[in-house]
């Protein structure tokens, strides 16, 4: 009799798994159909001139434009990869600078009360100022070169990095701290061995947030004060009334933002290998 129960249970389980898989396929196909339908409607709407090509260009034309931009400097005076490199360089430089300064600062502020006490008032003054608001001062002090744009990116990334790191180390489990102290660890040892690893997941959450905002900031900074980069390319598309160039720029920025946050996640999965999976 025992055997039969086992068999029935196993059969029920495989049936359940099959039903779930069937459902998954159903919803996946709905998703694929929706995306294809949107692209098709977009393409046909442009092709049959339901919307003016002054305002909209078809997906095929946009992709053609991206391919064309790889070898054509028109009309903004730069090739696609030059713009990408100009933007990506600034984003990563500002981002890394914010990580190198912001993570230690957040850790110290979270762990050492005196540090928090001294720095917090100044930090609270700077914190609510959006990075774009720094543009006039940065232009005045540094001009409109790569350094200036990196500093603008830095101001945005810095706040998110410090805040998340701070919250991360603050939420260190008190039991772990007590264990370390019982085993005779000094405050600094506890900080390094318990505090910092505990803060890691939140640090990476902060880095991902700041990477996302960095791409938004760079686009605005390049539209306002630059003569290269993807933001500049989009702005030129606007000035010359070339909608396919604007759309091409938006798509390329989306892809780059996606890749950048993917890279941060990749580093996270390598650094946080020791974490037990859920």
């Amino acid at each position: 009799m025992e055997m039969d129960y086992e068999k029935i249970r196993a059969e029920a389980r495989t049936a359940e798994i099959k039903a779930i898989q069937k459902q998954k396929i159903k919803y996946l196909s709905i998703s694929v159909i929706v995306i294809l339908a949107v692209l098709l409607v977009w393409q046909l709407a442009v092709q049959f001139e339901l919307v003016s090509t002054r305002f909209f260009d078809s997906p095929i034309a946009v992709i053609q434009r991206i391919i064309e931009k790889i070898s054509s400097k028109k009309p903004d005076g730069g090739l696609l990869h030059q713009h990408i490199w100009a933007s990506a360089k600034v984003v990563w430089f500002g981002f890394l600078l914010a990580a190198v300064i912001g993570i230690p600062l957040g850790l110290f502020m979270g762990w050492y009360h005196l540090c928090d006490r001294i720095i917090r008032p100044l930090f609270e003054i700077i914190r609510p100022i959006p990075s774009l608001a720094w543009i006039p001062i940065v232009i005045l002090l540094l001009g409109i070169g790569v350094e200036a744009r990196s500093v603008i990116i830095f101001t945005g990334c810095f706040v998110a990095t410090v805040l998340n790191t701070y919250t991360g180390i603050r939420s260190t489990n008190q039991t772990l701290i007590n264990v370390a102290k019982t085993c005779g660890a000094s405050n600094f040892q506890t900080f390094v061995k318990i505090g910092i690893p505990s803060a890691m997941p939140m640090i990476f959450a902060g880095l991902k947030t700041s990477m996302g905002s960095a791409w938004g900031t760079i686009v605005a900074a390049e539209m306002l004060a630059s003569s290269n980069g993807l933001g500049y390319m989009i702005q030129m598309g606007r000035s010359f009334g070339e909608v396919s160039l604007i759309m091409a720029g938006i798509i390329v920025i989306g892809i780059l933002g996606f890749i950048s946050s993917g890279l941060v996640s990749l580093v996270e999965s390598v650094v946080l290998k020791w974490r037990p999976k859920k």
Partner: protein, 266 residues
């Protein structure tokens, strides 16, 4: 009267105590001194802190760029609030529907995933092309930035409701609507509020971008105006304004959250 001793200071010596009280003031003073000395060196046209402070007070009387200051502040507030209210009213139900109904999710989630990595500021040129540089296009761009985090957070709030809550609901005989309003909504409220908070921060940023790139009024316009008219004091006043109101909104929002989610009060 006996002076209360601060428990954080008990085990520390006089040097620690000195920095505990004087440190914050010293750092801010150092910051102001540095600012003042850069300004006094005269290599760049940076106004001194005192000049900026004076301007901050006098700017409220008389017009700035054809309008009184309060008008610029008010119109920026209106833009952000319109976008925020619209996004909350439409985005929260939308996100909940995406978490609750699998077909709805299958239809809309991929579209969101495609649009999500594009920073909202990148839409500015396209929107000005479509709608012109008017009030509607500005609010639409801000909505682009605010809507997304609100939907995504509401959605993940619903997704992350613990299975056991549903089981308890089932045991107590909850119908589908009961489940939605009494189980799902309260447990996802935290995530929804986190989304609105993120959205608010991002909203200021997009507001600035849209006002800097073609507007004749608003705080972002003033910041840019200061830069192009070589009047950096005006830019600094604008920075302080946006920081001040940003912080004010964040505090107001914390207050609202504590009022709506009594269980979060400590």
């Amino acid at each position: 009267m006996k002076l209360k001793t601060n428990p954080l200071l008990e085990d520390h010596g006089p040097v620690y105590k000195f920095f505990y009280y004087a440190g914050p003031v010293m750092l801010i003073a150092a910051f102001l001194l540095l600012w003042n000395s850069v300004s006094a060196a005269g290599k760049v046209m940076l106004p001194s802190p005192l000049e900026a402070l004076e301007r901050m007070i006098t700017i409220w009387s008389g017009n700035v760029a054809k309008h009184p200051m309060i008008y610029h502040v008010g119109i920026s507030m209106r833009r952000v609030l319109t976008a925020l209210v619209f996004s909350v009213v439409v985005g929260v139900p939308f996100g909940i529907a995406m978490g609750w109904n699998k077909t709805f999710r299958a239809v809309f989630k991929p579209l969101f995933e495609v649009i999500r990595p594009v920073p909202p500021i990148a839409w500015v040129p396209l929107f000005t092309l479509w709608f012109g540089t008017n009030e509607f296009s500005r609010v639409a761009i801000i909505t682009m930035g605010v809507f997304m985090p609100i939907v995504i957070n509401s959605y993940s709030g619903v997704i992350m409701v613990p299975e056991i809550n549903f089981q308890v609901g089932k045991v107590f005989g909850a119908k589908s609507t009961d489940m939605l309003f009494d189980v799902v909504l309260p447990s996802s409220l935290n995530a929804i509020f986190a989304g609105i908070r993120t959205a608010l921060g991002g909203g200021w940023m997009v507001l600035l971008a849209s006002e800097m790139l073609g507007a004749r009024e608003g705080i972002g316009f003033l910041i840019m105006q200061g830069s192009s008219a070589n009047d950096l004091t005006l830019s600094i006043v604008g920075m302080v304004m946006i920081g001040f109101f940003g912080a004010l909104f964040a505090y107001g929002f914390d207050f609202l959250e504590r009022w709506l989610c009594p269980w979060k009060r400590k």
